[in-house]
């Protein structure tokens, strides 16, 4: 019998807070982190809103507990800030005491820094400290710098499946625990805003000039965001022997591909439906036992139709309360799955459902609307968290209240 997997530590940084408590506070205050960028060099500075972490890199170095030095990209620094909190919350001061794997997720690695020096890198006439940025070109760079700074020496990996990357990192870590390879894994993702990604999504014509409006009839696209989040996963036997504080149980997950289109989801939400259905089946919970769904809800035209249809197909007329938290944080791509997994834990532990900001008009294609007001004192035992991405990569997670 495979071990149960528990969440025993969490750390995060997003546009609405530098740590988990800060995020919870802003969610309760229903106060969005969307605004204009201070740090990206783009012509869209005052045009396209983003969910930017309002901390400059010097401040991030200080929060990460390391001296300012070349080669540490913003992606790495955001990751380190979140990682420090996750380890601290789990009571891990020395990673060598128990072999611990690290599964990270990233969509463009250190592109935030690379893009600033790229034309110098390819110019033989230029030389200087920018050479230190050469390694930030790939996705493993941030993972290894985080690992080396905090002391991971065991299994490490970086996953890149677009917007479902860190959901897949959590899944991979949980499966390694169930396979008996490790008793403890730290999984999540980190993403910094870049001119590259902003222009990428904008060229696809799915970035909203207003604050994004998930599941709203008038929605026109997403807002990008940045941030990082990591969760400490432990096997049941280790968590109990170690006397770990168990925050929640990671009861189900599914990764399914839609095989429909390189960037668009199918109109009937086949991939979303398969991912949610199989994840819930794995958790052993029934449809009625799901009290909240933190939807992918990017506010792109296609995602919300597809995901909404999948919800209606799965739950019929009894779709549980659902909301997208992307109007708070922006779409943080590789970090989104882990950030929203933490929000799921917060929903369960605090009995609250976060509102889907900026909603005013139900989509004509759907019979359902998201939660628009903060709901408190709700009993939440099981949350489904969705992350869907390019390439048809769909992932759903089920996070459940720990009941011994």
């Amino acid at each position: 019998m495979a071990e149960r997997v528990f969440i025993t530590g969490m750390g995060m940084v997003t546009a609405i807070g530098d740590n988990v408590a800060g995020n919870l506070q802003r969610l309760r205050q229903q106060k969005s982190g969307l605004g204009f960028t201070d740090y990206i060099d783009t012509i869209y500075k005052q045009i396209l809103p983003v969910g930017e972490v309002k901390l400059d890199n010097t401040t991030l170095f200080r929060m990460a507990g390391i001296p300012v030095r070349a080669g540490f990209s913003r992606t790495t620094l955001l990751g380190l800030v979140a990682m420090r909190e996750a380890l601290q919350q789990a009571g891990i001061s020395n990673l060598q005491e128990e072999p611990t794997g690290f599964i990270n997720a990233s969509t463009v690695g250190g592109m935030c820094d690379t893009e600033k020096v790229y034309f110098d890198l390819i110019n033989p006439d230029k030389s200087g400290a920018f050479i230190e940025s050469i390694h930030t070109l790939d996705c493993a760079d941030c993972t290894q710098r985080i690992a080396d700074t905090v002391g991971f020496t065991e299994h490490i990996a970086t996953i890149s499946t677009a917007c479902s990357s860190s959901a897949n990192a959590l899944m991979f870590g949980a499966r390694m625990i169930k396979a008996g390879m490790y008793q403890r894994m730290v999984c999540g993702g980190t993403e910094a805003l870049t001119r590259f990604t902003l222009n990428g999504f904008n060229s696809l014509k799915n970035v909203d000039k207003q604050f994004c409006r998930p599941f709203d009839q008038q929605r026109t696209g997403l807002n990008l965001g940045e941030g990082a989040a990591y969760l400490v996963l432990e096997s049941e036997s280790f968590a109990k022997a170690n006397n770990s504080t168990i925050l929640a149980e990671f009861t189900g997950y599914c990764n399914a591909n839609e095989a429909f289109h390189p960037t668009s989801p199918s109109p009937e939400g086949d991939g979303a439906y398969a991912a949610m259905k199989n994840a819930l089946a794995m958790s052993g919970r029934t449809l009625e036992e799901v009290q909240y769904i933190n939807v992918h809800g990017t506010a792109t035209l296609n995602n919300d139709i597809s995901e909404g249809r999948a919800l209606e197909r799965m739950f019929g007329t009894a779709v549980p309360p659902f909301s997208s938290t992307k109007p708070f944080t922006g779409h943080t791509l590789a970090a989104a799955g882990a950030i929203e997994a933490i929000y799921a834990v917060l929903a369960i532990r605090n009995g609250i459902i976060f509102p889907n900001l900026n909603f005013s008009e139900r989509m004509e294609e759907l019979q359902i609307s998201p939660v628009t007001e903060l709901q408190e004192e709700v009993i939440i035992n099981n949350v489904i968290s969705n992350s869907f991405g390019f390439g048809g990569n769909n992932a759903s997670l089920v996070i459940s209240k720990y009941e011994g």
């Binding site: 783009t42 012509i43 990233s106 969509t107 893009e115 790229y118 034309f119 890198l121 390819i122 033989p124 050479i131 050469i134 070109l137 790939d138 996705c139 493993a140 993972t143 290894q144 690992a147 080396d148 991971f152 020496t153 065991e154 299994h155 490490i156 990996a157 970086t158 996953i159 890149s160 499946t161 677009a162 897949n168 991979f172 499966r175 390694m176 396979a179 008996g180 390879m181 001119r195 590259f196 222009n199 990428g200 904008n202 060229s203 696809l204 990764n255 399914a256 591909n257 095989a259 429909f260 289109h261 390189p262 960037t263 991939g271 398969a274 991405g389 390019f390 390439g391 048809g392 990569n393």
Partner: protein, 348 residues
């Protein structure tokens, strides 16, 4: 985790004639350049012309390799698709960075952005083969392919009958130049024929794509079995030595990732001391790249399946073993990600 799976089919595009040719008869392709370039096949039998036009080089290589692998494996669906790539489509990444600059962030064509996404090859395979199962892409330098292999072994243990597991990597002239700035390549042209003549700083670059259909149970068509894998991140020499002994003590052939780079050659020298079996190199065939380990696995399985080692491919090895059943691959990527894989003959 139980480590045992069977290679039911495989395909590789590399700087050698691996896609069409037969390892026992294909000649060793020599190069004078420090950048080994893939011999690309005619893609038309694999990819419809209208799709082919839009796709950049590494997408074509990855997709065609995956499709050829599937077609020779006797499976009707790909099952879970798990890949590794260190750099994804460099050509698209470079193009999009430049177009952002050139067109001042306006009226951009989204195609290079979409294709630069690391999981785009996986998405294409799924799309073309209606692969609606699990789908994952690892992007971690010298651990990219090996993590995909670990993931696949777990999937087989969890109940999948088979997986499609592979890698894809390209080296562009621009990226070759960038990495030359930190001394990754030899300063003077050495090519692949003289790679091991002297131990000097730097090596030669490579690229390639390799895919495998891996199954939980053997069939008469099984090419070889993967029976061991270990990933070691920046290990101490003691740890590396212990793992090599544990996995490789009774091997009768070692495939070494040695690449003539004096900066990191001490690890391969250690392996030579620890492991007694005869050793053959492979980087003169494919060059150095993040997912070169997948080429080594293709090579190991091909040699085990053929039952002999073509002398033409290994002119630097004086005596090649005539009989071998257990092959151990040891590779590392610029001293950071070390991997050991065990591949064995399937007795029929």
């Amino acid at each position: 985790m139980k480590v045992k799976c069977y290679i039911q089919g495989m395909a590789a595009i590399s700087p050698q004639q691996t896609f069409e040719g037969d390892i026992t008869t294909a000649p060793f392709v020599q190069s004078d350049s420090n950048r080994l370039v893939c011999i690309e096949p005619d893609y038309k039998p694999y990819i419809p012309a209208n799709s082919l036009r839009r796709m950049t080089r590494v997408l074509r290589m990855g997709l065609a390799t995956a499709l050829k692998c599937l077609s020779g494996s006797g499976v009707s669906t790909p099952g879970p698709i798990v890949t590794g790539t260190g750099k994804g489509s460099l050509q698209d990444t470079e193009k999009f960075i430049k177009e952002i600059e050139q067109y001042k962030e306006t009226a951009l064509n989204p195609t290079p952005f979409i294709q630069s996404t690391y999981n785009s090859v996986n998405g294409l395979i799924a799309l073309q083969q209606n692969g609606t199962d699990y789908n994952n892409t690892f992007v971690h330098r010298g651990f990219s392919f090996e993590n995909a292999l670990v993931d696949s072994l777990m999937l087989l243990q969890e109940g999948a009958t088979h997986t499609l597991t592979g890698s894809f990597e390209e080296m562009t002239p621009e990226h070759f130049y960038i990495k030359s700035r930190i001394g990754q390549w030899r300063e003077q042209p050495v090519g692949n024929t003289h790679l091991f003549d002297a131990s000097l700083p730097g090596t030669i670059s490579g690229e390639g794509s390799a895919f495998f259909v891996l199954a939980a149970a053997p069939t008469p068509e099984s090419k070889a079995a993967v029976t061991g894998i270990k990933l070691l991140y920046k290990p101490s020499l003691e740890r590396l030595s212990a793992v090599l002994q544990e996995l490789g003590a009774d091997a009768d052939l070692i495939i070494s990732g040695a690449n003539g780079d004096s900066n990191y050659s001490h690890y391969y020298e250690l392996a030579n001391q620890v492991l007694a079996a005869p050793t053959i190199p492979f980087k003169h065939l494919c060059g150095e790249y993040d997912t070169a380990g997948s080429f080594a696995l293709w090579l190991a399985a091909s040699l085990l399946h053929a039952g002999n080692i073509p002398a033409d491919w290994f002119p630097m090895v004086k005596e090649l073993p005539a009989d071998f059943k257990k092959v151990v691959i040891y590779n590392h990527f610029f001293g950071e990600q070390h991997t050991v894989m065990v591949v064995e003959r399937v007795s029929s």
